[in-house]
């Protein structure tokens, strides 16, 4: 926020600083000239300056204190405008005739912003009033003194004009100086935001020197262990995960199932080193995650999350995550093939160099939901590593594509440790073990057969989901 626009923040500091120096210099010259004339004039001018500066400080202070509040209305208006420009949102907006709703909200925001602005402007009027009052006094004084000198014969009319010019000149330097100074102040306040942001400390270890032990560059599959892990998003907030204990052996394929809000995605984020645990520890191949260099660790894992939009770069860059020069094309194509997207990409004129969306390239294309998911899968495949984590990777795929993924699961996994999260219990058939997560704990664990035999929560969910897939006859029986 601090560097947004060239009106504020760092660029403004640069401009104002130069300006400021020029004015100081001019001030010195004129000030000396006026001093030689009559010290009272200089005094009056300086007093005037002091009053002006004080009032301006007050105004800045006020602006600062209310910055958050005042910018809120604008921030929200920006949000509304962005929605207007966002194309997918446009569907809902038209079908549900949301124009009226947005307009009302916007008008409210305009009113809010106007009232804030009025208050702000008033604060800035005070210096002007003070200026005029003291200016009045100063002018009368100046003319009075000079006129008296002329009448007394100390200076002639030409001198009168000269000193008049010099004294006015002084004013011309002094006020902009005060303005410059307050401008610098304001800009530096904004700049502080920037500095604070740059100083935000990392939670994990990123630096090579600080990490203990060897960087995890083993190419083999990883062993994951959660020991008494708890996690809450906010301090003092409810635990999303609570004293979680499990081990995934190297090369094992595990399915993670559970209802919405049970904590599945959170577990994945902890596993990926995106959030630190609030209790307990995570061990990767026996070493603690919080003691490792997290960048090296993340090199080892390929992840696929639920929210699917790709970046507006080329397909190849989306898959490799690298600039063009470093992309391994053969590997990109292989990953696309394995994910089931290569047939489509092969047909495109620019193949894998085709851009997605038209933001960066006019010739860009749009992928459907299922295609986007395949793209993300290709990205995870390209990365390789010792672990593959997939969070709902087939949610948008059609049955045939989905079943292909399941059938090729072994090939996809390729000996890596894999964690497969899905609502679709069909996927659990291809996994060595299944974890059922409920209320932040693992409620049931075992193979598909074991859990069905157990007759617990897993069985319940499986039956619900398979209900409509069974033949009429079978369903009647179960009733």
């Amino acid at each position: 926020m601090a560097t947004l626009g060239s009106q504020n923040g760092a660029p403004r500091i640069m401009r104002e600083a130069v300006d400021f120096l020029i004015k100081v210099f001019g001030l010195l010259i004129y000030g000396t000239a006026v001093l030689t004339l009559d010290w009272r004039i200089l005094l009056a001018t300086v007093v005037l300056l002091a009053v002006d500066v004080l009032l301006r400080f007050h105004a800045i202070h006020y602006s600062d204190a209310h910055w958050e509040e005042h910018s809120e209305a604008c921030r929200k208006m920006n949000y509304l405008e962005r929605s207007g420009f966002n194309i997918p949102d446009g569907k809902d907006i038209r079908i549900y005739q949301m124009k009226g709703w947005f307009r009302e909200r916007y008008e409210e925001l305009i009113r809010q912003d106007a009232s804030f602005w009025k208050r702000d402007c008033l604060r800035w009027y005070y210096p002007t009033v003070a200026d005029e009052i003291s200016g009045f006094v100063r002018n009368v004084l100046l003319y009075g003194i000079l006129a008296a000198k002329v009448l007394a014969g100390e200076i002639d009319v030409a001198g009168f004009t000269l000193y008049l010019g010099v004294a006015s000149g002084l004013v011309r330097w002094i006020f902009p100086l005060a303005l410059s100074f307050s401008g610098l102040q304001e800009a530096s306040h904004r700049y502080n935001d920037y500095r604070d942001f740059m100083r935000v400390r990392d939670v994990f270890i990123h630096d090579e020197e600080e990490g203990q032990g060897e960087p995890q560059r083993d190419k083999g599959p990883l062993e994951i262990a959660f020991k008494d892990v708890s996690f809450a998003y906010e301090e003092g907030g409810p635990d999303v995960l609570s004293h979680l204990n499990f081990t995934i052996k190297a090369g094992e394929k595990v399915a993670l199932v559970g209802n919405n809000g049970a904590g599945k995605t959170t577990l994945v984020k902890l596993l990926c080193g995106l959030y630190p645990v609030t209790g307990g520890e995570i061990l990767i191949n026996g070493k603690r995650l919080q003691d490792m260099n997290v960048d090296d660790y993340q090199e080892q894992i390929g992840v696929l999350f639920q929210d699917t939009s790709p970046l507006a770069f080329s397909i190849a860059m989306n898959v490799s995550g690298c600039p063009d020069e470093l992309t391994d094309r053969g590997r990109v194509r292989e990953s696309l093939r394995q994910a089931g997207l290569w047939e489509k990409v092969r047909e495109l004129p620019d193949k894998e160099d085709t851009y997605l969306t038209q933001i960066l390239d006019d010739g860009g294309i749009q992928l459907s939901g299922g295609e986007q998911q395949k793209l993300l899968l290709a990205r995870a495949i390209y990365k390789g590593g010792g672990m593959l984590v997939m969070d709902e990777p087939t949610a948008a795929m059609d049955p045939l594509a989905e079943s292909q993924i399941y059938e090729n699961y072994n090939a996809l996994a390729g000996g890596k440790t894999t964690l497969f999260i899905s609502h679709r219990l069909a996927s659990t058939r291809f996994c060595d073990r299944i974890f059922l997560l409920e209320n932040g704990k693992i409620a049931e664990e075992g193979t598909h057969r074991e859990l069905m035999a157990l007759g617990g929560k897993y069985r319940e969910i499986f039956d619900i989901q398979s209900y409509y897939y069974k033949e009429r006859g079978e369903r009647e029986d179960e009733k």
Binding site: F85, I95, A114, G369, E371, Y468
Partner: protein, 611 residues
Amino acid sequence: MKSKGTVRKVLAMVRMLQPGFLALLIVTKMIAAAQPFVNIVFGSVILDLLVERAPYRQIMEAVLWMAGISAVLVLARWGLEMFVDVKKRVLEHRVNLMMCEKSFEIDYEILDSKDTMDIRQKAYEGVNSSGSIVSFCETLAGALEQLCGIVYSLILLVPLFLPGGAPARGGLTGLLDRWYGAFFLLAAMALSMWANTRVNRRMARLQQEGFEVNVQNNRRVNYFRHLTTEYSQGKYIRLYRMQNMILGEIRKNINAMEKVSQNIAARSRRLRWLTAASALGLQFASYLYVGLKAIYGFISLGSVLRYVSAYQNLSQNVGSIFDMFVQMDVRSRYLAYFYDYLSIPNQRYDGTIPIEKRDDNEYEIEFKDVSFHYPNCSHMVLSHVNEKIRLGSRMAVVGKNGAGKSTFIKLLCRLYEPTEGEILLNGVNIQYYDYHEYARLFSVVFQDFKLFSFSIAENVAASRQYDKGRVLECIEKAGFMNRLQEMPEGIYTNIYQLEENGAEISGGEAQKLAIARALYKDAPWVILDEPTSALDPVAEFEVYSHFDELVRDKTAIYISHRMSSCRFCDMIYVFDEGRIVQKGNHETLLLEEGGLYNRLWNAQAQYYQTD
């Protein structure tokens, strides 16, 4: 875009959006124009008094008048400027609102085109840089200020050119006394003006050049900036170490923009010396003329100050007025983008027939040989679709990815027009219907639906006002009630991060709200595109079991990859490569061995059979 026409248009718009602004602006400028003249007039009076050795008291009286009037004018002016400032801001917001509303109104098909994106980007940037309505008005008012200044100056200058009291002399000095000596001054003024106008024109042209080029670049910069704040992308960027790639692209962009700016800066630098030179020349000329007149006794000493100042003001004002015209021309060109955007036609709203409200709900939609491809791509997504759909049925639409299912829906809702063929409602082409009415027929939950960062109640009702009871009812039916009860503020809770304590809701929870929204609208056609993809099995089952109740007497169209949903639909359409290849109910379709339906079904059902 001719200036005259633009001026009238802009003035009309301003008067509509923010009445009183123009009047206030004019008064403020007139006062501002008068400011410098107080000092000029009184200054020369005082000087004359000093030369005459008038009594001190008289001199001080003049001083007091001068200081007093000056102070009053300044206070008045800045007081008014305060009000102008507030009105200015409101005006700017209202203009942005206009642009925002326009983007809601344009036909979706047109919105979704790259050309529109570009026009809109240009309009937005134009308005926010030199082409804003506000700055246009300020330029106009500025011209007025200059005009006032000219009038005041001329009034003061007239005595300068009249023959003085001294005896007539011959030669050059005599020339000074003649009124046509004024031509010397006029010539100097004209020369300086010519130089300035040339410079200004060129600078303006340079500026606009840079603007055009940067529109594209700015679009990209905005995207990158957006990336840094989107935390869903943040996960991927970190995990896949995409930082370098993205930074690389950003750097490329910045370098391009820098080149453009440098080029323009270099060219404008060369023009500046001309302006400086002409200013100096003008000063020299004015002091020379007036000074000589004073030396030869044609005018008093005190009046030298007055005339020189007045003359300089005059030239400044005249120069500025020409500059204003150049500015207006430039601003009109930026504004042109804005008007281009506003004048994009809304074809959807050309239709006028209202939809007859039918109590018997006998609506029938027919697709007559409809084919369609998206504007940016020549591949036919739908191909010769022929189908009649009657209200009151439950339909499922299934098929592989990219088969045309979602597109079918979008055409049905009239978000796009068919490339070939037509769509009829009760026998009439839907293009003839009033779009507002037509849209009322549909409650849709799209695959990429959007909820907005306002209160839950508003989101469900899609409006600022709502029926609380009905909102709660719909939330209950959609299965969101449990989650709602966890929220202390209930339906007044704001979702997402725009507010300080906005609640975060998961993908599945959002889907339930989207369903609630569809229910609230209570339209005869309910279309659900993958409505349970983010729901867990239990929640999904609940939606299925209440489905009958949810869509009681409406037509429901259900697109899903979850083949299980076909079980409770009367009619299933199977799409493949843009055509309807099979239709019927579950039992009949299953019997078609080797048919697409059969394959889709088995691909999923096989995993659910008990061994």
